[in-house]
């Protein structure tokens, strides 16, 4: 099966209908034992120090792992992807682009997906058939999410892992579905995890996945992973077609739309505080200003760069924040 890399979530149904095995390049980058190798490779080829580690990581993965075709999202996600695609094209990689429309309207989303579909010459019916197949895996991921925030049995890391993996279903959605079934069966047997503080993780998935375990040292756990959850399209089953599904997707559109969903989840999941993760040099660091103003909940912004584990300064900040958040929950001020 021919492989195609993606830079973030795209209408994967189209690519599967075209017979591709889809690989989310971010996942290869971040789960590598030594992800700095990929960054080094990019910097040696001229990517600036002041550029997000994800972009460099994706570039490194493409070259090192021999990816020959790639779909880059040039609107709605990172604008650096445009330049990334140009460089990859220069390196002989076949590039396709997908743009989430800036104007968040159903007819624009429809046009974008139809264009994408014609790029790969696939029929609408086949795409919808694939969407139906994927919905089974998606409803299992949704079940796992409920096991996290309703039953308190799945850990924050498991919640992150399976939702973030839903961008490409680990390259094989049937195998992914089977794996999820057995993971869920195991988790269901567990006793609930009782932690004092219920946290939400908003922003792009972290480079530093050790944060999930780290907060547990302070009687806290994550019961909400915002963007990862979006990757898993928890509302897909409510929609009649692919256009509605990708219209009802948050982080690639305007911030207000995204905040409405976050606000809903804050209440629904009874969150005590949020950690807003941003990547150094990313425009989303600026969005933190708006997020803090608009959401009435304590928020700690942490920024990751090249390291794939928390540095000591960030750990200290998290500890101080959670310490006071615990006081707040106990009504100490």
């Amino acid at each position: 099966m021919k492989k195609i890399g993606i830079t973030t979530t795209v209408p994967i149904e189209v690519l599967l209908a075209a017979g591709y095995q889809v690989i989310d390049l971010n996942n290869i980058f971040v789960t590598a034992e030594d992800c700095s190798e990929y960054i080094d490779l990019a910097e040696r080829d001229g990517f600036p120090k002041s550029c997000c580690a994800w972009i460099k990581g994706i570039y490194g993965v493409c070259l090192k792992e021999g990816i020959s075709e790639i779909v880059g999202v040039i609107e709605g996600d990172c604008s650096n992807t445009r330049a990334l695609l140009e460089v990859l094209e220069l390196k002989g990689i076949k590039v396709y682009s997908f743009a989430y429309p800036h104007r968040h309207q159903l007819r624009d989303v429809k046009e974008a997906i139809d264009d994408f579909r014609s790029l790969f010459s696939v029929d609408k019916e086949v795409v919808e058939e694939i969407r139906d197949n994927l919905n089974k895996a998606r409803s299992l991921v949704k079940k796992l999410d409920e096991l996290t925030y309703l039953e308190n049995k799945a850990t924050g890391f498991e919640n992150h892992l399976y939702q973030v993996s839903s961008s490409d279903f680990n390259g094989d959605f049937r195998k992914f579905t089977e794996e999820l079934e057995s993971v869920i069966a195991e988790i269901e047997k567990r006793k609930p995890i009782a932690k004092k503080l219920r946290l939400g993780f908003i922003g792009v998935p972290p480079m530093t996945a050790d944060i999930y375990q780290y907060v547990e040292n302070f009687d806290a756990c994550f019961v909400y992973n915002e963007v990862q959850r979006e990757f898993a399209f928890p509302r897909a089953i409510n929609h009649n077609n692919i256009y509605q599904q990708y219209y009802d997707y948050t982080y690639v559109y305007d911030l207000d739309f995204r905040l409405e969903y976050i606000q809903e989840e804050l209440e629904h999941r009874k969150l005590d505080g949020l950690i807003h993760y941003t990547q150094a040099f990313c425009y989303r660091e600026i969005e933190d200003v708006v997020i803090k103003q608009k959401l009435d909940i304590p928020i700690l912004n942490i920024s990751g760069d090249k390291l794939n584990r928390l540095d000591s300064r960030t750990k200290l900040r998290i500890e101080a924040f959670l310490d006071m958040l615990g006081d707040l929950k106990e009504g100490r001020f």
């Binding site: 505080g273 803090k292 304590p298 928020i299 700690l300 912004n301 200290l316 900040r317 101080a320 924040f321 310490d323 006071m324 958040l325 006081d327 707040l328 106990e330 009504g331 100490r332 001020f333």
Partner: protein, 256 residues
């Protein structure tokens, strides 16, 4: 309900009693004298409260530098970052600010948003940007510390970032005949320059100044230029101890 808060600093131990959310007693004792004259050691440090002459207290909270030094028997020990933030929240009534605490031997900067710490930075263990540096320089100039703290205009230039080498530089300036006012301003300005790198990471509009060095008028003048609002606490040196009391009182209220 009465709460006793003790902040064990490097130069002085600060003691505060609060009753019904009001500070009713406050005192400062030299650190050496506190351990020697007011404490016993019975496996743990025991504070002889009768010697402090502060009456009965219902809740006792301590803070300061070093877990072992501040772990007093029958006290709840909290970390000093938190103590200072609670102190500043109590003293200002604000929930969004940047707090800088410049003590005898250390500097802490904390960002507080919605009443919670969201960022912090501590200085290296070096006396160059702390109260002790000002004390040394005032001794060298043979003038009282509070007199030296008044001068901020036209400072002589002191380049060194080391407290020891700064002394030699200052002597050089004295030898060249610089006026006392300019020498004093030079010391104060060098202190400000050392705090600046720490503060540049904490851009914001409102700065709260605490710790003994908050009394330094020259430093206040320099900092005013960097923030829209500079807030001085009524009791900057007692801020940590006040924070302990405030925390303790809130804890009791929430348990009820």
């Amino acid at each position: 309900m009465r709460a006793l808060g003790i902040d064990l600093g490097s130069r002085e131990v600060k003691v505060v009693v609060m009753e019904d959310n009001q500070v009713i007693e406050k005192l400062k004792v030299s650190t050496l004298s506190f351990y020697k004259d007011y404490c016993n050691f019975e496996g743990k440090i025991v504070v002889d409260e009768s010697k402090l002459n502060l009456g009965e207290t219902d809740i006792k909270v301590s803070t300061g530098y070093g877990r072992n030094n501040t772990d007093l028997k029958s006290f709840e020990a909290i970390n000093e970052i938190k103590a200072h933030v609670y102190g500043a929240i109590y003293q200002t009534g604000l929930k969004d600010f940047i707090l800088i605490d410049v003590g005898g031997q250390d500097v802490k900067v904390m960002k507080v948003e919605k009443g919670l710490i969201t960022d912090l930075e501590l200085n290296d263990k070096c006396a160059a940007s702390c109260g002790r540096y000002l004390e040394n320089m005032a001794n060298l100039l043979e003038i009282p510390l509070n007199e030296m703290a008044k001068h901020y205009q036209n400072p002589v230039e002191l380049n060194s970032t080391c407290a020891v080498f700064s002394e030699s530089e200052l002597i050089g300036q004295i030898a060249e005949g610089a006026e006392m006012e300019r020498l004093c301003a030079g010391v104060n300005y060098s202190m400000y320059k050392r705090l600046q790198p720490l503060l540049t990471k904490f851009r914001g509009r409102r700065l709260v100044l605490s710790g003994g060095v908050a009394h330094n008028q020259a430093l206040q003048e320099y900092l005013k230029g960097d923030y829209d609002e500079l807030l001085l606490l009524d009791d900057p040196q007692l801020n940590g101890a006040i924070g302990c009391c405030y925390y303790g009182m809130r804890a009791v209220i929430s348990d009820k």
